[in-house]
């Protein structure tokens, strides 16, 4: 059992949790993730390690509530526990001094690119950050990214904050303005990563993405997370999750992630019905109608 030490809502759907796990805190590097199972009978899901505190023995994760398991996770409070928490998993990001690196985060992907941006900056890189989301209230970690980036750009799809448009538009503008770019890390929804890869490809700029296929064990034992990279089958949990963006078959990943879509919906509906019932019960318990 792993205790939740701190909880903070970053937006309507995005929650930051600080969880006690001294061993993971000590070993984790940028790019690593953990597998979490919230309750008995629950699913194992992968979540990136956003940060850690070795002294306090805690690991920070930032979770977007999209389905049953992530909603359940985000509904936990300080002092609650998650049943299983294992890691750090995956190959860490190779951190060198490349020169100038652009770190792009889309939506909750900002939580995943943040530790990489931080590590790259610590290694002496000039780090340019671009973070984006659909609208203003979905922009997360603006302050934190601002602290680790030499320069930070923000985009919103609807123009409710900063520049209107996509992160890829900002990236293309930087390239067109002649900014010297030695590498790009782009993490977020698959279509966003795909577009960023398409932007940098003609310019031959090395680009990395962190893939998010469906995982079961997270230790290389099932092959459920297989992705095609450079025409070869790779297991994202042990060979990745980061890969050369110009080699990734994104369309295949999008299709594979839809495998259980109808069942995931069933699972979520059932959960929400259950929550509703609990709520109604608590109301009637208090004698309120």
């Amino acid at each position: 059992m792993y205790k939740i030490i701190k909880k903070q809502k970053l937006s309507d759907t995005i929650t930051k949790l600080v969880i006690e796990s001294p061993l993971v805190a000590k070993k984790r590097k940028a790019g690593n993730f953990v597998m979490i199972r919230v309750v008995e009978g629950g699913e194992r899901i992968p979540i990136t390690i956003a940060d850690s505190d070795i002294e306090k023995g805690t690991v920070t994760i930032i979770v977007q509530a999209i389905g049953k398991t992530t909603k359940m996770l985000c509904s936990l409070n300080e002092g609650d526990f998650v049943l299983d928490f294992v890691g750090p998993l995956g190959e860490p990001t190779p951190i060198h001094n490349y020169g100038t690196v652009v770190c792009i985060g889309g939506g909750v992907g900002t939580a995943e690119v943040y530790p990489i941006a931080k590590a790259l900056r610590d290694a002496g890189n000039e780090v340019i950050g671009i973070i984006g989301a659909r609208s203003k209230d979905l922009i997360i970690l603006e302050k934190e990214m601002g602290e680790v980036c030499n320069k930070l750009y923000i985009t919103t799809d609807d123009g409710s904050y900063a520049r209107k448009g996509f992160v890829s538009d900002q990236l293309l503008e930087l390239i067109n303005k002649g900014t010297k770019i030695d590498g790009v890390y782009a993490i977020g929804p698959i279509p966003m990563m795909q577009v960023c890869a398409n932007v940098t490809k003609p310019f031959g700029i090395k680009t990395y993405v962190s893939l998010n296929p469906i995982m079961v064990d997270g230790t290389g034992m099932c092959g459920g997370c297989r992705v095609t990279v450079g025409g070869k089958m790779k297991f994202a949990c042990v060979d990745g999750p980061e890969f050369d963006a110009h080699q990734v078959d994104f369309d295949e990943l999008i299709m594979r992630n839809r495998t259980y879509i109808d069942l995931e919906k069933t699972s979520l509906e059932k959960y929400e019905e259950h929550i509703c019932n609990l709520y109604e019960k608590s109301l009637s318990g208090k004698g309120v109608k």
Binding site: G41, G42, E43, T219, C222
Partner: protein, 473 residues
């Protein structure tokens, strides 16, 4: 001489068979297929044993259970004594009695088998273990010896559990590190409930714990801490690696990316380990079509196809390149599969998987094969028959074509000798690796093998670790 019968009388008794769930019923539930022998049948079966002067059956058992001794205790109705006798050599009798390939081990060499059927040693082993559990006769032995040295065991499969039990009995402080959230390795995530109920597994694992082994789950050696950190920072003086061969192979044919194509490991892990059979009561989903195909001929393939049938597949095909004779699965399991209505497509090789507009599997194209000359493995090599290609409509393809060791430890441990196949290299007597304080066994050194071989290795390694640590480490 506990056996009242003369040898000639013993030989007249036919081999006794387990009571089993009827096939039409059991292929729709996950309850155990076999109920084993009852007391009466077990007593009769025990009396068939000739109590040989030179009991070759013992040589056939990789952990050298004193087979005639435990059988004699059955005849004396001292079932608890019989169980203790087995446990002197094998701490997991209820598991081995169920899944050990006894027909290729102790029973194949049994003297009685020369002219008649061999003694049903495995079934007697199971009877004793089950009787002891049902009547709550088990008492954990008290370990009095104390050696102030710590040993780490990596992996809680049969290799790790056995090595741990042996070392605890010698007095060591033993910790098992397990990557997953539950113990047992393949015994839990691979072998289905209908062959090995989780309750039985839990009882036998808990006995290893009760004996004194500490078990830490959610700990991936190589990631949570490296092997060297276990030794240098956490104070373990020797390490046993029993991490198995969990990484599935894929055929590498076209169409493997379609939804509905799974490794048998993923399929069985979802169903057995994550309990997808109970979805949506549980959260891990599985989707099985009306027609499914499993590819392979081993125990894994058999478990996968029988599981798919139980999840509602109306047509469950087993596709295998060679003929039935060459199938590596246990005979009993092949028979069970056939009784349950699995359709065997032998001498058939998959060529490609076809998908629909939603990227789901809709068919598999196969080719007929014929058997040619024997290859390196001594089995006759299948050769494709030209023009024999045909299409079978299926909504799932489950691949059970072999596994290789999970690479995490090998990749994070400098100086550990690893073969081209990814297996860890050991001295086959002492199980020591290229590093003097690191030992290994089970599927990690063989590729996919058997439960009892893993247990043999765990035991052999425990003896070597003891010797190594007594010499001062």
């Amino acid at each position: 001489m506990p056996n009242p019968l003369k040898p000639s009388e013993r030989m007249k008794i036919p081999r006794q068979h387990s009571i089993e769930q009827n096939p039409e019923e059991r292929n729709r539930n996950f309850n155990e297929v076999s109920f084993g022998l009852n007391e009466e049948l077990a007593l009769l079966e025990a009396k068939r044993c000739l109590d040989c002067k030179n009991p070759v059956c013992i040589d056939g058992c990789p952990v050298r259970i004193d087979i005639p001794a435990f059988i004699n205790l059955i005849i004396e109705k001292d079932y608890s004594g019989a169980a203790d006798k087995i446990r002197e050599a094998n701490y997991l009798p209820a598991i081995c009695g169920r899944v050990c390939p006894q027909e290729d081990q102790c029973e194949i060499v049994c003297i009685l088998g020369k002219k008649h059927d061999p003694v049903a040693i495995g079934k007697l082993e199971r009877f004793v273990a089950d009787y002891e559990m049902a009547n709550k006769l088990f008492k954990s032995p008290v370990v009095t010896n104390q050696i102030d040295k710590k040993v780490a065991i990596v992996g809680s499969g049969p290799a790790g559990l056995t090595c741990a039990a042996e070392l605890v009995k010698l007095g060591y402080k033993v910790t098992i590190f397990e990557a997953l959230h539950a113990t047992g390795g393949v015994l839990r995530y691979g072998i289905p409930e209908f062959r090995l109920p989780k309750e039985i597994l839990d009882i036998e694992v808990n006995r290893v714990r009760e004996l004194g082994a500490e078990i830490i789950t959610n700990f991936v050696v190589g990631r949570t801490a490296t092997l060297d950190e276990l030794i240098d920072e956490m104070g373990y003086e020797a390490v046993f690696l029993g991490t198995g061969a969990g990484t599935p192979n894929f055929m590498e044919i076209s169409g493997e990316h379609f939804s509905g194509v799974l490794s048998a490991n993923e399929f069985l892990t979802r169903v057995n380990f994550m309990k997808a059979y109970a979805f949506p009561e549980t959260d891990t989903p599985i989707k099985i079509g009306k027609q499914i195909a499993v590819i392979g001929g081993g125990n894994t393939a058999m478990d996968a196809v029988r599981t798919a049938k139980r999840l509602g597949a109306e047509k469950a095909y087993l596709i295998y390149r060679r003929s039935r004779k060459e199938m590596p699965a246990r005979i009993e399991e092949v028979q069970h599969a056939e009784e349950e209505g699995i359709e065997f497509l032998m001498l058939t090789n998959p060529l490609r998987i076809v998908g629909d507009e939603f990227n789901w599997v809709k068919a598999i194209e196969c080719q007929k094969m014929e058997l040619g000359e024997p290859d390196d493995s001594g089995r006759r090599k299948p050769i494709p028959i030209k023009g024999s290609e045909y299409i079978i409509e299926v909504q799932n393809v489950i691949e059970a074509i072999g596994q290789k060791p999970n690479p995490i430890i090998q990749a994070t441990t400098p100086g550990l000798g690893v073969s081209k196949r990814g297996t860890v290299v050991v001295d086959n007597k002492t199980m020591v690796t290229s590093r003097p304080n690191v030992f290994a066994g089970g599927d990690l050194i063989h590729g996919g093998a058997t439960v009892i071989l893993a247990m043999h290795d765990g035991k052999a390694a425990a003896a070597s670790i003891h010797e190594y640590l007594q010499k001062g480490g």
